[in-house]
């Protein structure tokens, strides 16, 4: 095996997998006519696509075969993920369930929960939201006030969540709530996670509409929503550890680099004969992508081998999301040299609307830089 190919995530099985997902995407797009989109992992919700993708064997890659998955490694998932994003495929419906909920179930779920939920996730038919942020708890997640109190056979959930992507179309929400009162000395103690059906009595969902009218975010209200003991995820009191333990994967993945890839590649393809200055601008964009991807893959390999890459994972998210943001205006400049830029204007407009979110979601870049500084030993 060549080190070079391994660093490119393009060796052996990974190269074969890359070819098959590309073939699937080309054939599926030709048949069903979806348009490559920017930020498709948030914005493009297409249950039929998710089901077709799963049927073709590209969902639940890291879920063991016993639970309906493919039992493959983290790098296999990395390759499929980046190909989906690079081609702007409509992946939002199954995205959070596959990316975040399945690993959490595998790490902390009960056997019953795994048997019940993982096969549906692997089939691309279970859609989940994540309920973390609240009005008073954004970057400071430990300020979460949603509370679960003990009742017969389960818990009563009371409070609210906000920025809950896809909650209005999801089957369930994985909610972080306080299960014991705040201890100012140990702010991260006393949290637990619950799997809450969006159809549960007492749960209401209100849209939080984006400036252009798109509806992805929601406010979710819980008024004494009953949660049975079977739907506690992991250990009561371990919620903070559970939500932070696997942040490295989420922070360093391809979705922190490639949210605007469709726009970038469409623009490069649309450029005809260009002068040296424009070629250099394209080269700078591509070099940033290559180097970020290399850093992201090296973090993925470290994590897949069980190593600690918390600082570098935070770096990937800071650098990657700033690249995503910068890329939008760099492409806007490139469009000056495109003969017929009109078809690209819609992608550019979408990217401009979504761009402020890149450096906010999943932890603001200001918080991430604090994590990096801590890793450098200066905090």
């Amino acid at each position: 095996m060549s080190d070079f190919d391994a660093l490119c995530a393009n060796d052996g099985e990974l190269a074969q997998l890359r070819t098959s997902i590309r073939d699937f995407l080309a054939a599926d797009r030709a048949e069903f006519g979806w348009q490559p989109a920017v930020d498709s992992w948030l914005a493009k919700w297409d249950p039929d696509f998710s089901a077709r993708l799963a049927a073709a064997g590209f969902v639940g890659l890291t879920i063991p075969a016993d639970y309906g998955g493919l039992g493959l490694g983290y790098l296999h998932r990395y390759v499929v993920t980046e190909e989906l994003l690079a081609h702007g495929a409509p992946v939002a419906a199954h995205w959070i369930a596959d990316r975040q909920v399945a690993p959490a179930l595998l790490s902390y779920g009960t056997e019953e929960q795994r048997g019940r939920l993982l096969p549906q996730i692997a089939a691309g038919r279970l859609y989940s939201a994540i309920g973390m942020s609240e009005h008073g708890a954004g970057s400071d997640l430990a300020a979460v006030q949603t509370r679960a109190t003990r009742t017969d056979g389960g818990w009563l959930l009371r409070g609210s969540k906000v920025w809950t992507s896809g909650a209005h179309v999801a089957h369930q929400i994985v909610v972080l709530a306080r299960t014991s009162p705040l201890d100012p000395e140990h702010r991260h103690a006393g949290f637990s996670q619950f799997i809450v059906l969006t159809s549960a009595p007492g749960l209401t969902i209100e849209p939080v509409v984006l400036m252009n009218g798109e509806h992805h975010f929601n406010e979710v209200l819980f008024e004494d929503v009953f949660i049975s003991d079977e739907d506690v995820l992991g250990q009561i009191g371990d919620g903070w550890h559970q939500v932070t333990a696997e942040l490295g994967f989420e922070r360093s993945g391809p979705e922190r680099i490639l949210s605007t890839a469709t726009l970038i590649f469409s623009a490069i393809r649309a450029l005809g004969d260009v002068d040296d200055g424009v070629a250099a601008d394209v080269g700078d964009l591509v070099a940033r992508m290559i180097s970020l991807r290399q850093l992201s893959i090296s973090v993925a390999r470290t994590l897949a081998d069980g190593g600690d890459a918390a600082t570098r994972a935070a770096l990937v998210k800071d650098l990657g999301t700033r690249f995503e943001q910068d890329s939008v205006e760099l492409v806007a400049d490139l469009l000056d040299y495109v003969q017929d830029a009109e078809p690209l204007r819609a992608l550019l407009a979408d990217a401009r609307v979504h761009s402020p979110l890149f450096t906010l979601r999943g932890g603001t870049n200001e918080v991430l830089r604090g994590v990096v500084a801590k890793g450098m030993g200066v905090q």
């Binding site: 060549s2 700078d284 940033r288």
Partner: protein, 325 residues
């Protein structure tokens, strides 16, 4: 590999200048790939390690460039001592090649002259080069070498050898720059942890922490790109399209990191960092000088841009090198 890095550290801690050079020769590090059968992975460790110490020793010029080129062309060179390469493009006039090469690194060593004409690369070793003495911003020797030679006195090789020579130089500079930036970062973390203003160390200020994080980010990204170039050279050699691709990308990524890292390092050091007595500028100015050698960042950006523009799908050029696999 760790032992190699430790050996470099140890030699740099106990010696400088001519003594360091002798130690590098005694340990075999001076001609690691040309004399010791080591490969690019080892060379990268030595080059970045020396750069971390701001060591003044032309290992890249000697080992990766001059000895390699002399071997390739069948030109005999001294078995010991520092060597360098001077490259020029010119046309043959009356059977002679004439010109002047500027910014030759370490021009007072034995110079392996490489003159590219339309149909060949002409190579010769010049012992008493007509060098004009000078130095780069970090005080490393740089100078101009004038030449006037009969074509018949030089050894001709395929002109493509010149491309590999430049690629080797660019590859070496990428690894050296990463080492220099690492050193600049270490110095900056150290300084901000010690320097007290407003009653606390600078590193306790959030604005300073964010600058440090930005610096670390640029360096890690540069390192990742350089690592790909090292892997390509180690797997396929310097002549291969994979290495051409990876060096091109690395030269851009590493090149674009130099300005932000250098700027932040000096900003967080305050004015002390630009004084003659301080160590910082010996790393930052090396990076600043090296970045323009063997092709500027923009030249490589243009080249990478052309690769992406020529590809059917630019994504292919992000994933790996654009060639029939």
């Amino acid at each position: 590999m760790n032992e190699l890095a430790q050996l470099v550290d140890e030699l740099c801690d106990r010696s400088t200048g001519d003594e360091l050079w002798r130690n590098l020769e005694d340990t075999g590090l001076a001609r690691l790939t040309s004399g010791q059968g080591a490969g690019p992975a080892e060379a990268a460790i030595v080059l970045s390690g020396l750069a971390r110490h701001a060591a003044a020793a032309p290992i890249a010029e000697t080992d990766l460039l001059a000895v390699w080129l002399a071997d390739k062309a069948g030109v005999s060179i001294p078995d010991t001592g520092p060597l360098t390469v001077a490259m020029a493009d010119t046309a043959e006039i009356d059977g002679r090649l004439r010109g002047t090469v500027h910014d030759v690194p370490w021009p007072l060593s034995t110079v392996v002259l490489a003159v590219r004409t339309a149909d060949a690369l002409h190579v010769a070793a010049v012992e008493d080069a007509q060098a004009v003495d000078g130095h780069n911003l970090a005080g490393e020797p740089r100078g101009s070498v004038a030449f006037d030679m009969a074509v018949g006195d030089m050894h001709a090789v395929d002109p493509g050898v010149a491309d590999e020579l430049i690629r080797r130089g660019a590859w070496a500079r990428c690894n050296q720059i990463v080492g220099a930036l690492d050193a600049a970062c270490d110095l900056t973390v150290g300084h901000t942890g010690e320097r007290v203003q407003f009653g606390r160390p600078l590193s306790k200020f959030q604005a300073v922490q964010h600058s440090l994080a930005a610096m670390a980010g640029e360096i890690e990204r540069a390192r990742a790109a350089a690592a790909l170039a090292v892997a390509a050279a180690a797997d396929y050699g310097f002549a291969h399209p994979a290495t051409d691709y990876a060096v091109t990308a690395a030269k851009v990524a590493v090149g674009r990191a130099v300005n932000p890292v250098t700027t932040i390092a000096h900003q967080l050091h305050g004015a002390i960092g630009v004084t003659a007595e301080h160590r910082l500028w010996r790393t930052t100015m090396r990076a600043r000088s090296w970045v323009d050698e063997f092709g500027t960042t923009t030249q490589y950006a243009r080249r990478l841009g052309r690769m992406a523009l020529a590809a059917g799908d630019p994504w292919d050029v992000v994933v790996s090198y654009p060639a029939a696999r």
